[in-house]
Structure formats: C-alpha cells, structure tokens
Amino acid sequence: MRPSDMTVDFPLVKLNPAGLWALTPAVLTVLSLSLIGSLNIMGPVWKRLSDSTDRLEQKVFFTDLDVNKNVIDYLVYLRIRPEGPVEPTKAPIETSRKWSLYVFSYPLLLLFSIASTFLADYKGAPTSFRLYVYGCGVLQVLFSVRIWYRAFCRFLGIRRAQTEI
C-alpha cells in the first residue's frame, strides 16, 4: 500500500503513514510468531493440566482453567439461539469441535496479519523494502501452516492422534 502524505499525531510523536507501513511487517511478524508460539505451547500445557485433574478425579471444563480470556475467546461464545443450558450438563467430548467454524478463529487472525503484512508492499517500492515485506510475510506463512493444518484436522475430525496431544 503506497503511503500517503497524511500524518498521524500522537501525544509525543508525529508519524506519517510511510513510517507506520514500513514498521507494519516487522511488528506483525513478531506478534504473529509470538501468538503462534503461545498456541503451540498451550497444547502440552493443557495436556499436563488435564492429566493432573484426571489424577485428582476432578472434572473441569477448559473455561474453568483458562482464566485469561481474550476478545476471540468471548467472540466464539456468541450465540443466536435463545434457549439452551446455562452450562453444558456434561464435559464436552473431544470431537465437539468437529464441523465447528470456531476452530478457525485464531488461524483467521493470523491470516489477517499476513494480509496486512503483504499490503505494506506498493507499486514502485525499492527491492530491499520488498525483500523485507515478503520475508516477513513468508515467515508468518511458514509458521502458520501448523496452526491451519491442525484447525482443518479439528474441523474435519481427522488425524486426531497426529494433531491432538
């Protein structure tokens, strides 16, 4: 996206979009890779916690233990149907995410970041800038493949032994 001449005033600094768009690929890449790392590490962390509750013969739901919910966690709990139990009457089984579009919530956020990164490119941009933009984009794509692959497996209910811990 070719930067315009408009400037953005913050309390202490004045930035123009050229500066913002130049920073966008690097910032999005660092944040995306950090998010991907946190999604990856949540697997073993949840597995160990789940094993602990099994040993204690306690039945807990994911929502009991994931106390730090973010905006995506709340968005996936939006419901249109007015009736239904206040809470599930029994713990959801692992296949409950089959055919659920919610499994794509985090992958879509990563896709949004990748698209924004590539949008930093513009017609007539210097080669060094393009290398930087596409380098950042490719890094994000590379590490997002695992997240997308596992989301598709959950959606289709396949290859659980290979993708679910």
């Binding site: 946190s38 106390v67 730090n68």
Partner: protein, 43 residues
C-alpha cells in the same frame, strides 16, 4: 516428599494438588501472554 522425576514413585494426593497448581499457573501465564498478543494484533 517423593521424587517427582522418578516415574516409579506414585505421588500422593498432596503432591497431585501441588502439581495441579503448578500446571494451572503455567496455563494462566500462557493465556495471559496469548491475550496480549491477540490484543496487540487487533489494535
């Protein structure tokens, strides 16, 4: 206190609860970090 690194030792209930607290704290830390990354990406 049993050696937790020894798989042949059966931990007692108190140890299980201690391990549960450790794993829960670990999950809370990851969840908190994840929330920050999501908010930063969306803002």
């Amino acid at each position: 206190m049993p050696d937790l690194r020894n798989n042949e030792t059966q931990p007692d209930s108190g140890t299980d609860w201690r391990l549960f607290e450790i794993h829960k704290a670990s999950m809370e830390a990851v969840g908190k970090a994840q929330g920050r990354f999501v908010n930063a990406l969306l803002s």
